[in-house]
Amino acid sequence: MITQFTIGGFRAIENLTLELGTKNLLMGLNGAGKTSVFDALASIRELVVQGERIADEKSDEPLFPLSSVPRWWRNGSPGPVEQRFEIVFEGEDGPIRYVLMIQQDEASGRSRIFSEELLHQDRPMFSFREGTVQLYRRSYEKGPTFTFDWNRSAVGTVLHPEIPHIDWFKERMRMTTCVRIDAPRMAARSEKEQPDLERDLSNFASWYRRALVTNAAAGASYLSDMRQVIAGMESLDLHDLGQGIMVLRASFEQPHEPIAPGRRRRGTFWLGLQELSDGQRALIGLYALLHFVLKEGATLCIDEPDNFVALAEIQPWLLDIADRVDDYGAQCILASHHPEILNLLALDHGILLERGGSGPTTGIRYKPDADLPLTPAEVMARGWQHG
């Protein structure tokens, strides 16, 4: 579980430390920084787990572009500025702390990793600073050094089996998933299995194809849930078109046709994922996250999970996710404006993100007036969250 996430200098976030529990709800007005928190975490994951470069010229969406530095830092700085990120995981024998500093130079247009450190109980296990990797031994004494690419995560790339905590950290980062479901972009077609979900779930079919192979038991319980959640749906199937191409489709019970007095024919028809409604696609994505992603040690971040989903569908999914978080020792971080989510989670798990005017984001535990008999959603709607 991530117990603390600190962001220093990312979009509107100048210096924000979030203290996190197993269940978390990020709340706040538009522009308060909720999506930026998830984007920062997702970018760090892509850097460490997927080995992406921080500012790949060929990429349409570099992980940490110059534009991700707070505008007022860039305007007022004569030289390079540094973005700082810190993630603390609750380890089995003490906290594991990852600290990443990225140097951004507007004059040269260059971005690079200034330093990257991994600490166990505040003692260094791995350090990468100004292009040099410093390895440590199990006793925390310094080991060999070597040079490394300033644009890539050394922690994520270098193998160092002597210290198992490093692999543990990488595995926890791999199990961190940040998404914002864009149902219309969830494509039915899959050309190959993909282990990592795109943040908008556009590669859902390819990810699901892989997930079914690695966790067939979750696939069975997922389908059982989906039959109850989507009326008339009987199964979800990857249909083989040949040459490795598959199409994700759902089968539905056919309205019964009378074939003789008192007798009706039972039938099935198939719809490709793209033929389902946006709401149905969103539900397929939300429940898949619940069944395949939320397991022991996993962190699931969902930005606005209520998008596209009918009112009656939100609470059952929320209660399911709370049950799984408690039962499996997982963690979820949601961001939402939806009254249904605010009213259920804000009191116990709400974190209020705010910006004073155009200034930096701050984050505090949501704590309403105990004698105010209004729902959290109503308090937020009235702008009374400050008391």
């Binding site: 529990g21 197993t22 269940k23 109850q228 609470q315 059952p316 209660l319 709370a322 049950d323 408690d326 039962d327 020792g329 009213n343 259920l344 989670l345 009191l347 116990d348 309403p368 007036d369 105990a370 004698d371 105010l372 008999p373 209004l374 729902t375 959290p376 109503e378």
Partner: protein
């Protein structure tokens, strides 16, 4: 038990309490849907909110039943705190009377669940932690607010599933209650059996 219960409305003072009832109901009744309604704010107003909402839920439930939704049920939670179960139940009954709503009938699928001291006492008691009805999980042995409250809350949340499982086991027809079962819990088990009638 006859037909499958269609829907259960759970009215609770807080999320943790509501989730224990919800998980019990899902396990024991396997309803098509559970709707959880929790109080909007702090402790005192949470209690007031349940008392005020109870007649509204009763009226809605009876309206649904009168239109043929016989397989719906309501479970109401309010902590006893420093009162007795009987005193809290009387307050709920008085709230009905004040709103001109008839008292709860013996055949109605409406359960009133009053943990003492509160639901956390039961969550611990049902998961093999020795507790009595004065047990307050937020305070240490000297009665002070424990410094690691968040950690305690998390451990409590992780016990909700096993506690619901044990509550289901205890509430089965003719299941004997162990001799050290909390008195308020014995009353609640009888209440929960009302939902299955």
């Amino acid at each position: 038990m006859g037909d499958r219960i269609a829907e259960v409305i759970v009215l609770a003072e807080d999320l943790r309490s509501g989730r224990l009832v919800q998980r019990y109901v899902e396990r024991a009744l396997n309803p098509r849907g559970v709707r959880l309604r929790i109080a909007p704010a702090g402790k005192q107003s949470a209690y007031d909110w349940v008392i005020q909402s109870y007649p509204v839920e009763m009226k809605s439930h009876r309206n649904r039943v009168s239109k043929g939704a016989n397989l719906s049920a309501v479970a109401v939670h309010v902590d006893a705190d420093n009162l007795t179960v009987q005193q809290r139940s009387s307050q709920l009954a008085e709230a009905l009377r004040a709103q001109g709503e008839p008292p709860r009938g013996p055949g109605e699928r409406i359960a009133v669940i009053v943990p003492r001291r509160n639901m956390e006492t039961w969550i611990h008691g049902l998961t093999a932690v020795p507790v009595d009805e004065q047990y307050d999980f937020k305070r240490d042995e000297a009665g002070r607010i424990a410094p690691n409250t968040r950690q305690r809350e998390r451990m409590c949340d992780e016990r909700i599933g096993p506690a619901a499982q044990e509550l289901h086991r205890l509430s089965r027809p003719n299941a004997p209650s162990p001799p050290d079962t909390l008195p308020a819990l014995i009353l609640a088990i009888e209440e929960l059996r009302r939902l299955e009638r």
